[in-house]
C-alpha cells in the first residue's frame, strides 16, 4: 500500500462545500416540496436558505469547472473514445462491486492523480457533474425568479417542465448521495477515502494501473 496525493486543495474545498450544500439543499428542498410533512423551519426561511445554498453551489460548481478546465484535468470526467474498452471496464468494475469485492478480490482499478476514477465512477461523475448538476443549477435559477426568466422557462416547455426536471434530478442526486457515501467506506478502512478528502492523500494498492 502507498499514499498518493490524489485530491488537490481546490478539489477538496469544492468537494466539502458541495457536500454541505447538497445536504442543506436536499433538506430545505424536501421542506419546500413537502411542507405538510417536514416543518423544520418556516417555509420562507426554507426558501431563503435553499436560495442561498443554491447560489453557493453554483459558485462552487464554477470553482470546480475552472480548476478542472484550466488544469486540463477535466478529462478525468470524460469517458475515453474507445467505448468498447470503456464498456468492458465498466463491466469489470460492476463485477467487482457485485462479486469480486464480496469474494475478497482486489479492485480492477487503481487510482492515480491522472486516472482517479474507475469506469463506473467516471460514468456517474460525468453524468452528475456535466449533465445533471448543470440541469439542476439552471432550473434552480429559473425557479428562483420565474418572472425574470419567463422567456427561458417558455423555451424549456413551461414552468411545470422546469419544476419536473428540477425535482427529478433532485431525486436522483439524493439517491446518488446514499450510494456515494456508502462507496466511500469501501476503502482500505471504512474512513480511508473520507480522510483522504480532508488531507488530499489516499492510500491505494501498489502496482495499480
Amino acid at each position: 500500500m502507498k499514499k498518493i496525493y490524489l485530491h488537490p486543495l481546490p478539489v477538496r474545498i469544492w468537494h466539502w462545500v458541495n457536500a454541505v450544500s447538497f445536504i442543506v439543499l436536499i433538506i430545505t428542498g424536501l421542506q419546500i416540496r413537502y411542507r405538510e410533512v417536514l416543518t423544520l423551519t418556516k417555509f420562507k426561511t426554507a426558501v431563503d436558505i435553499h436560495n442561498f445554498f443554491g447560489f453557493l453551489l453554483i459558485a462552487d460548481f464554477f470553482l470546480w469547472l475552472a480548476f478542472y478546465v484550466f488544469t486540463g484535468k477535466i478529462k478525468l470526467y470524460i469517458p475515453p473514445l474507445n467505448l468498447k474498452k470503456f464498456f468492458m471496464g465498466c463491466v469489470r468494475q460492476a463485477r467487482y462491486y457485485g462479486y469480486g469485492l464480496l469474494m475478497g478480490e482486489n479492485s480492477p482499478h487503481h487510482a492515480t492523480p491522472d486516472n482517479k476514477f474507475n469506469p463506473l465512477q467516471q460514468t456517474a461523475y460525468f453524468m452528475i457533474m456535466l449533465i445533471l448538476l448543470p440541469f439542476q443549477l439552471i432550473t434552480g435559477v429559473l425557479l428562483w425568479d420565474i418572472k425574470m426568466f419567463a422567456d427561458w422557462i417558455g423555451l424549456l416547455g413551461g414552468i411545470k417542465v422546469v419544476d419536473f426536471i428540477h425535482v427529478v434530478v433532485f431525486f436522483f442526486l439524493t439517491a446518488f448521495l446514499f450510494v456515494h457515501v456508502y462507496l466511500t467506506t469501501l476503502g482500505i478502512t471504512p474512513l480511508e477515502h473520507i480522510k483522504a478528502m480532508f488531507t488530499g492523500y489516499d492510500e491505494v494498492e501498489e502496482g495499480g494501473n
Partner: protein, 559 residues
Amino acid sequence: MWCIISLILAIPASAGAKKLPLFENAGACMGCHSSREADKVFKDKERISVFVSENDFKNTVHGALNCTDCHPKVSLETHPGRVFESKSAFLKDASGICRTCHTDSQLKAKPNHAYMAEKRDAPLCIECHGAHNVRRVAEWKASLQGNEYCLTCHHQNISKTLRSGERLSLWIDPSYLASSVHNKHACNDCHSEFTRDSHPIKIFPNIREHSISVSDVCRRCHADKYTLLKGSTHYNLSFQVGETLITKGNWKAPVCTDCHGFHTVGPKITYEILSGVPCRKCHEDIFKIYAKSVHGMAKANGVHRAPLCSSCHFAHEIKFTAMTDKIKSACLGCHKGVEGLHKKWLPNAELHLSVVACAACHAPTSEKGIFLQLIDQKTGKPFTQEQIMQLLGTSYEELSERLNAHGQGIDSYELSYIVKQLNERGSGAKVTYLGRMDVNRYSDAHQLSLKKNAVRECESCHKSDSKFFKRVTLAIIKGDGALTRYSAKPDVLRSIVSAFSLKQFYVLGSTRLTVVDWAGIFVVCCGLLFPIAHITLRVLTMPARKAKKLEELRKGEKR
C-alpha cells in the same frame, strides 16, 4: 253690464240655481279679515294669514258672492271656532267648498281638470286658482318667466298612469331643482319637445322604459360620459341608450337617472360620500361588506381619499373585472410603491402580484381558489367563449354540458382534451391554461382588511393539502368580458393526465404531481437500498472472504 255678463259666465249653475241665504253681509267678515295682521294658528303651530283684499276679491269671477257662499259653516256664534290640525288640512277643507259648485261633470269637461275629478290626492283648487283672488290659470300663467311656467303645474302633486298601470309622478320639487347642478337650465333644455305652445302627451309602457327614454336626453350634453358608458358592463347588460333597444333584457341595469336622479342631479361630491353612493341601490349586499372593510371604515371616519365603488370600478366605464388586472391597477393606483414593499419580504414578489389577486391576501377571511383560463401562449390573450365554441364547433349549451358533465366538475381528461382539440383545430395558437388565485365570491373582494391582517404565511398556500388548490374553476370569458365559471374536480392540478395542458401553472408544494412523488420515493429508496443490500451481501459473504484470506495466507506460508 259687464258685471252681469261675468256673473252669468262665472257663477256655476248650481250656485245660481240655489242661492244661499245671506247670513250676514261681507262687512261683518271684513271687519277682521281686512287686517293684514290677522292670522290663524293651527294645532301644529303653523300660521296662515286670513287677510282678504276686498278690492281684489270684487274683481274676481266670484266678486258677486257672499263670504258665506263659500264658507257656509261660518257663523258669528261659532267663528272663529273651527280648529284644524295643520295648514294643509285647512286648505283641503277650504278647497272642498269649490266642488260644491264646480261639480265633477263640469271638471271632466276639460282634460286638465278631468284628471283631478276623481283623484283624492289631486292638487287643491286654490293651489292653482288662489283662494279669494280667484283667477283662471291662463290669465296669470302666461306672464310667468322661465321654469316657473312649467312648475306651475309640475310643482303640484300630479302624476299619470302608464300602460302597465304604474303611476308616474310628475311632481317636481322646485327646491330640489334649484339645488341641482342643472339649476341654470330651462326645463325644455332637456324636455325639448315641450314648449309654451306644445305639450305632447307621451305615454310609456312602464316606468322603466320612461327612465330609459329620459336617460337618452343626458347624452346630448354628456357625450363623453355616454362614450364611457357605452363600453361599460351596465350598458351592455341593459340596452343601447340611443336606440332605447333592450339587448340583453336586464331591466335592472342602471341608466343615467337611476344613479343621478331626474331633477335632483347633484354635484360630483354628492356621490363621493358613503350616503351618496348610488351603487348601493342595487349592490346593497356588497356595499354592506365594503362598509365594514378597511376602506369603508376609513371613509366613514372622514378619510376623503379612501376609495368608494367608483374609485376601483369607475363611475361610467364600469367593466367586468374578474380575471383581469383592472382591480389590481386600481389598487396600485393609490398604493404606490407596494410592489417594492412586497419585494422586501416576498420571494418572487412580481410573480405573486401578477397571479394572486390583491384580495386573496388582503381579505384574509375570503374564500379563495384557483381559476384556470385558456390562453394563447403566443399573444398571452385569453380565448373567449365565442372563440372556443367556434373552434370546437359547438353551441353554448353543448359546451356547458361538456364542461359541467353530470354536475361533478371537469376532470383531468376533459381539461387536457380541450387544449388538445383547440391546438389541433388549426387555431394557429399555442393554447394552454394559465392559473391565478382569486377570491371565489365577488363580495369577498370587498372585505379588505387592515394591512396587519393580510395573509403573510407562505404555508397558507404552499402545501399540498391547501384547500385553495382543491377549489379549481375553469373561467371562460365571454366577448363582453363576463365570466362563465365551470367547477373542476379537486385533483386536476395534481394529475399527470392534465399536467401537459397545465404546464404553465405550477405552485411550490401545492400542485406537485402525485405520480412524480411516488417515482421520487422509488428512486430514493433504490439509492438507500443499494448500500443496505450490499452491506447485507458483504455480511453474508464474510465467511467466503475469510476463507479466501486464509487460503492466501496458507499459500504465502508454503512459499
